[in-house]
Amino acid sequence: MVQSLAALVSLVLALIVVAVALVVVRRASRRDPAGYANVYRVRRYYAIGLIGALAVLLVLTLARTPYAAAAAPPPDLKVEAFGWMWAWEFVVDGESRGPRLELPAGKLVEFAVSARDVNHGFGIYDPQGRLVAQTQAMPGYVNPLRVRFDEPGTYHVLCLEYCGLGHAVMMGEISVQ
């Protein structure tokens, strides 16, 4: 899961930083006028390593953006999704389904997401309550979001862009069978 991996990476890096900081802090009280030279000796290797690591991460992660998915083969289903204060509406083949949508499992679905008043955020949560994908719903623009619903169950759409007083109660439901 992306969240767990991102949190784990953050935690490991944070622990390394704290450990290095503790070493530096402990040694700061001792006096050696030329002591700083050691730090700058390490820096060159650090900078090269960091730039290399970031370059590799860029290449790996930029291949996994949601925009790249939009250029993949055509979706199995297309659904229009509109946000307004404070509800979601799904439209399939020009017919409104209100805030509830039924989908077959395993199909690649493209949501054409837009808004009828202010900005909203179209965040899809899986049956366990984890965010799996999102895009902004902006008036005057259509954002295509592709999601494959492999796991049957009830998914929910929460608003992930602050849109006024009803922001926290703006919900949609997607039933996958």
């Binding site: 992306v2 991102a6 002591g35 700083y36 730039i51 953006t65 939009a70 202010v118 309550g129 006024g164």
Partner: protein
């Protein structure tokens, strides 16, 4: 009024007034933040209307206050190496204070609640608050912006007059003048911060002009994506610059404690000029989830965000390491607060870079991971630099009480941000007045618990800040001792 720097006492007075104003407003904003977490934690009942007004004030107030404090810190550094105008600073301070108080009225009385970046067209469409509060918010922000521009442009003028443009940006490190002594690091960082601050503020001013036009002529329509870009260019830049202003003070003052110079080498010059570019282009990461935005801009956002880690760590953090390592330093309040502040900045930066990965942002954007990272580099980052600076400025004989306050602030601060990080990991959405409508009982239970513990952390932080303030009062030193 004289505009020179021949009177350190008068320079000190304007900065002390700025700092007292900034810290007082900061503590008010902290209190609003605690109230919000208490409401989310179901500890106290707050209506959505009041919650979102508090949220708007908290965000606008924090961004404005910390950027204003950052400007004052840069002005202080500039005044040690040039002659910035005190009059300009007094004008900017008056506008900052007037804007801040007017914002308090617009949000707490007028219930303006469009959030801190007031995404167009939310302030104008189906608003649940009176129109005057929208207008007052726009005018307040413009007043603050004019003040920032006055101060920042004057800092740039003063640095250019004293050092010349090539020297203040350290471009002379690469030409015929490379053999001559470089300008102090504080000058370079002050110049970078001032340029980025001016550019960000000008973009913000243009956006606010459009907002004002819309307020006067409601039938007007602007492009929401354009205004989203410009408001984030403004908002992201000023909060980013605030952080770098604090770092400028560390470069300036830390050598006084370690006895080692912090020179502007070619590496430092390249790093800070590159940082200027990264500051200006990183804001695109706020719009990753706007798929209608050209993909190139998303990619620029990720590259700029990733790249900012290189000068930040390889130059500033290693530079601090070079300052500290076996320096014989005595850990008094100021170097301790500075070092801890840089640590908080790095920890917040790590989690920011992680979130700036587009593939990760897909599941972190607008969850609590976002406030987690920026509260880390502000609350246990910049704010510690701010308190370190205040301590340098005012001093205190009650060092033990001051350090106790610092420890309590750290404990509370890290507890507070940890609860945000856990919330982000659990996909808890941000900016929810209440979690009770979320159709996942486990998620609701976790989100509520994290919020309640977050309120405990925030309260501890506030207690620590008050202990620190008490140390300033009980250990007050006469002003002449503190000229620096």
């Amino acid at each position: 009024m004289s505009t020179g720097t021949s009177h350190p006492g008068r320079d000190r007075r304007v900065i002390v007034v700025w700092m007292v104003t900034s810290v007082a407003l900061f503590l008010v904003m902290v209190t609003l933040g605690i109230l919000m977490r208490l409401a989310q934690g179901d500890v106290m009942a707050i209506t959505p209307q009041t919650f979102y007004a508090l949220m708007t004030m908290h965000g606008l107030g924090m961004a404005g206050t910390l950027f204003s404090a950052g400007i004052a810190m840069v002005w202080y550094v500039a005044a040690r190496h040039a002659r910035p105008s005190r009059l300009a600073m007094w004008i900017a301070w008056a506008l900052f204070l007037a804007g801040g108080l007017a914002l308090l009225a617009a949000t707490l009385i007028g219930k303006f609640a469009a959030g801190w970046y007031t995404l167009y067209p939310l302030p104008f469409l189906k608003a649940t608050w009176p129109g005057w509060s929208t207008g007052l918010t726009i005018v307040s922000l413009m007043a603050m912006g004019v003040g920032w521009l006055v101060a920042l442009l004057d800092i740039l003028r003063a640095l250019a007059v004293e050092h010349g443009i090539a020297r203040m940006f350290a471009w002379d490190r690469f030409g015929a003048g490379a053999g001559r002594e470089a300008a102090p690091a504080g000058v370079l960082i002050g110049a970078v911060c001032a340029v980025a601050g001016v550019l960000g503020t000008i973009v913000g001013a243009a956006s606010l002009m459009m907002y004002l036009f819309q307020w006067f002529a409601p039938a007007t329509q602007f492009d929401p994506l354009l205004l989203k870009n410009s408001m984030f260019m403004f908002g992201h830049t000023i909060v980013n610059v605030a952080m770098y202003c604090g770092i400028g003070v560390v470069y300036e003052l830390m050598p006084g404690f370690t006895g080692r110079p912090w020179k502007v080498t070619k590496t430092v010059a390249v790093a800070w000029n590159a940082t200027l570019a990264f500051i200006l282009f990183a804001y695109f990461h706020h719009l990753y989830m706007d798929f209608a935005q050209p993909v190139t801009l998303h990619v620029i956002g990720q590259i700029a965000s990733y790249s900012s880690a290189v000068p930040a760590t390889a130059v500033t953090v290693f530079g601090l390491g070079g300052q500290l390592h076996r320096s014989g330093l005595r850990w008094s309040f100021v170097p301790a607060a500075f070092t801890l502040g840089i640590l908080g900045w790095v920890l917040g930066g790590i989690t920011a870079v992680v979130d700036s990965t587009i593939a990760v942002n897909l599941v972190f954007h607008n969850t609590l991971w976002v406030p987690a990272h920026f509260h880390t580099y502000f609350l246990v980052g910049f704010v510690l630099l701010l308190f370190g600076f205040v301590h340098h400025l005012l001093g205190s004989r009650a060092e033990r009480l001051a350090k106790s306050g610092l420890v309590v602030m750290l404990t509370g601060g890290y507890l507070f941000v940890l609860m945000f990080f856990l919330g982000g990991l659990w996909s808890v959405p941000r900016r929810f007045a209440s979690y009770q409508a979320i159709p996942y009982p486990d998620l609701v239970a976790h989100a509520t618990r994290f919020a309640a513990w977050g309120a405990v952390g925030g309260s501890l932080f506030l207690l620590g800040a008050l202990l620190y303030a008490a140390s300033l009062v009980t250990g007050r030193q006469p002003a002449p001792d503190r000229e620096g």
